[in-house]
């Protein structure tokens, strides 16, 4: 297991290197910056000074190594727009909010998705199954920004049950709309995969044995079937995390949550390229870490899997 972890971590290095190179080249190939303002052009000397300050006149390979060195030491460079602050500081400010919201949305997805998928599989081809499939289809077809706007309109504007947006920590009712909007799609993805996986497990011999020895149906489903059906589900956690990350771009913007997703959107429209690059790297690190954790969790969930 230890050796496997080391190998996975070593394999993540070239992946990360390619991601860094691609993101770096793409961001540096993008011309201009926030100082290119057609209506109020800056003096050429000012632009020259800015370029000097950010080492933009250095050869590309030098910038590439300089940034890599800084990034490995935890400094992600200055922001173009927010001149006084380092990108690392910006991340430290905005990221915790997104992590809280992301984790809560993920818990919501699990709390809704697992019962939904289980019910659909256990009551296969009944009204319950069809209702669950209906919810799943809605989740697949409706993007989170549409979901968020529908929730805000109904719950906040028409019914006045909730405020239209804002953030005051995870214990505040304002978290409900972004939580549902971000978590709904992952919940339905989870339910869909779980239904398929559970249907397969429920057809196995050992389930019939467990039923035959007189165990209650509920116990069989929860103790025997669900435990085994959840193993293949772990593979899609990567997709779910990616869904939560991209969901945060839209939902945080709509519900005015001061998180990193919303900051990312501001950075793209404001052409704040260092922030763009840093956040792209951050998101890639999260996804890669998540995938490694998922593979490791196999060993815990499935005794048949042995890592040499």
């Amino acid at each position: 297991m230890g050796a496997y972890l080391v190998r996975r971590l070593l394999l993540a290095v070239p992946t990360m290197a390619v991601v860094y190179t691609a993101a770096f080249l793409l961001v540096h190939a993008t011309p201009g910056g926030p100082w290119d303002n057609a209506e109020k052009p800056l003096a050429p000397q000012v632009i020259e000074n800015i370029r000097l300050k950010y080492h933009l006149n250095d050869p590309l390979w030098k910038q590439y190594l300089l940034y890599l060195n800084d990034a490995l030491h935890g400094s992600l460079g200055p922001s173009y727009v927010n001149r006084a602050r380092d990108v690392s500081e910006i991340i430290a400010d905005f990221f915790p909010v997104s992590i809280q919201l992301g984790v809560i949305a993920m818990l919501f997805a699990i709390a809704v998705g697992i019962p939904l998928g289980t019910l659909a599989a256990v009551y296969r081809n009944t009204a319950i199954d069809y209702a669950a499939i209906g919810v799943v289809v809605t989740g697949i077809s409706i993007p989170n920004y549409v979901m968020a706007t529908i929730l805000v309109t109904t719950l906040a504007v028409w019914l006045h049950w909730l405020p239209t947006g804002g953030w005051a920590g995870i214990w505040d009712i304002r978290i409900i709309i972004p939580m549902v909007a971000i978590g709904f799609r992952p919940a339905t993805t989870l339910a869909r995969y779980l239904r398929t996986s559970l249907l397969e497990v429920l057809g196995q011999d050992y389930i019939r044995t467990a039923r035959a020895k007189g165990l209650a149906k509920r116990k069989v489903v929860i103790r025997h079937a669900l435990r085994n059906a959840l193993v293949p589900i772990a593979t899609i956690s990567g997709i779910l995390v990616a869904d939560v990350i991209t969901g945060s771009f839209f939902v945080e913007t709509i519900t005015r949550v001061p998180g990193i997703g919303r900051y990312f959107v501001t950075a793209t429209t404001g052409r704040d390229y260092p922030v763009l690059l840093a956040l792209a790297l951050l998101f890639a690190v999260i996804i890669i870490t998540m995938n490694i954790l998922v593979d490791l969790s196999y060993a815990v969930l499935d005794p048949q899997v042995r890592y040499a």
Binding site: A29, V137, V157, G238, T246, T269, I288
Partner: protein
């Protein structure tokens, strides 16, 4: 030898193919939701194609004396904050969504299918390289990459002064930024197609009909295009129905963030974003594009499900 393959197989195949697709059509018609979805989509496509002729108003015609007017005989879906006709804008939005969905799909298939066929059939270094690229790209959220590429193209294309890319700059300008979106989406999207086609081809490669063709002396190219391609058509069609909604979601998302279609050309995503500003007082400005987008995506989903069952009856029986 090669005359044998050419004289034997293709002569009979079209008739058999036709029968297969006829059977699929009969099975498709049994899905009520899929048929409803198909009819709705046909309507959207028709409106999208004929938008300049059928819209009651020009999409950016402002009437500052009747802003935020409710639905009436003059404006069936009311007007927005600048007094523009919402119905006309929704119709043009359909044009944007559909053209992005269809063009991106065509591009993605044009690159992904040959790549997948070659990688799956020939294997070797090319296959290995392709799979490594797929691995790396899958480590980054799809939308994040698209946003980066889209930011790049929108900033880069207007700076093109000469050379082979001038036509692209003109195209992007004339389409109000649609070309940049399509480009960003296709540059990543083809990997998905290539991966799935490759998987299918690897499954087909050891089958008898491929071995038979090879032993009769058929060349690699002939086997790929005449024998393998028809057999991966069904999964490709099913995949297309999943890809189109993804592209539409991405376009509306980019436009929602202000990165996509350049105003005043309306996209459903832009309309949702504009409506959010006045959501407290005029929620219908958000609800209208949101519902149209949701209905289109749902229809695509139903049609996709119908096609999957129609083209892949084995899976249905399970």
């Amino acid at each position: 030898m090669s005359t044998l393959t050419q004289a034997g197989a293709p002569a009979r195949r079209p008739a058999r193919e036709r029968r297969r697709y006829q059977r699929a059509y009969t099975r498709f018609k049994r899905h009520k939701m899929a048929v409803v979805g198909a009819v709705f989509l046909a309507g959207v496509l028709l409106i999208a194609a004929a938008a300049p002729m059928v819209t009651p108003y020009v999409y950016d015609r402002q009437d500052l004396f009747s802003t935020y007017s409710p639905a009436s005989a003059r404006h069936w879906a009311g007007t927005d904050s600048l007094g523009r006709d919402v119905l006309s804008r929704l119709m043009y939005g359909a044009r944007v969504s559909m053209s992005v969905g269809v063009t991106t799909l065509l591009l993605v298939l044009a690159i992904g299918v040959p790549m997948g066929l070659t990688a799956g059939y020939l294997g070797g270094t090319f296959d290995l390289l392709l799979m490594r690229v797929v691995d790396v790209v899958y480590a980054i959220p799809y939308l994040l990459l698209v946003v980066l590429l889209q930011t790049f193209f929108t900033a880069f294309l207007p700076t093109v002064r000469g050379g082979p890319l001038v036509w692209l700059r003109a195209l992007n300008q004339n389409t109000h930024g649609i070309a940049a979106i399509v480009l960003a989406l296709s540059l990543i999207g083809w990997l998905d197609v290539a991966r799935i086609v490759r998987g299918q081809v690897i499954g087909l490669r050891p089958r008898e009909f491929v071995q038979a063709a090879r032993s009769l002396g058929a060349g690699d190219r002939h086997i790929m295009w005449a024998h393998l391609l028809p057999n991966v058509m069904a999964p490709i069609i099913v995949m297309a129905t999943v890809l189109i909604p993804n592209f539409i979601i991405a376009e509306a998302g980019l436009s929602f963030l202000g990165l996509g279609v350049q105003p005043p050309l309306p996209s459903w995503g832009t309309m949702i974003a504009e409506g959010i500003d006045s959501i407290e007082s005029y929620p219908r400005l958000v609800i209208a594009p949101a519902l149209v987008l949701a209905a289109t995506l749902l229809s695509l989903n139903f049609v996709g499900d119908g096609l999957r069952d129609a083209l892949d009856p084995v899976q249905e029986r399970e």
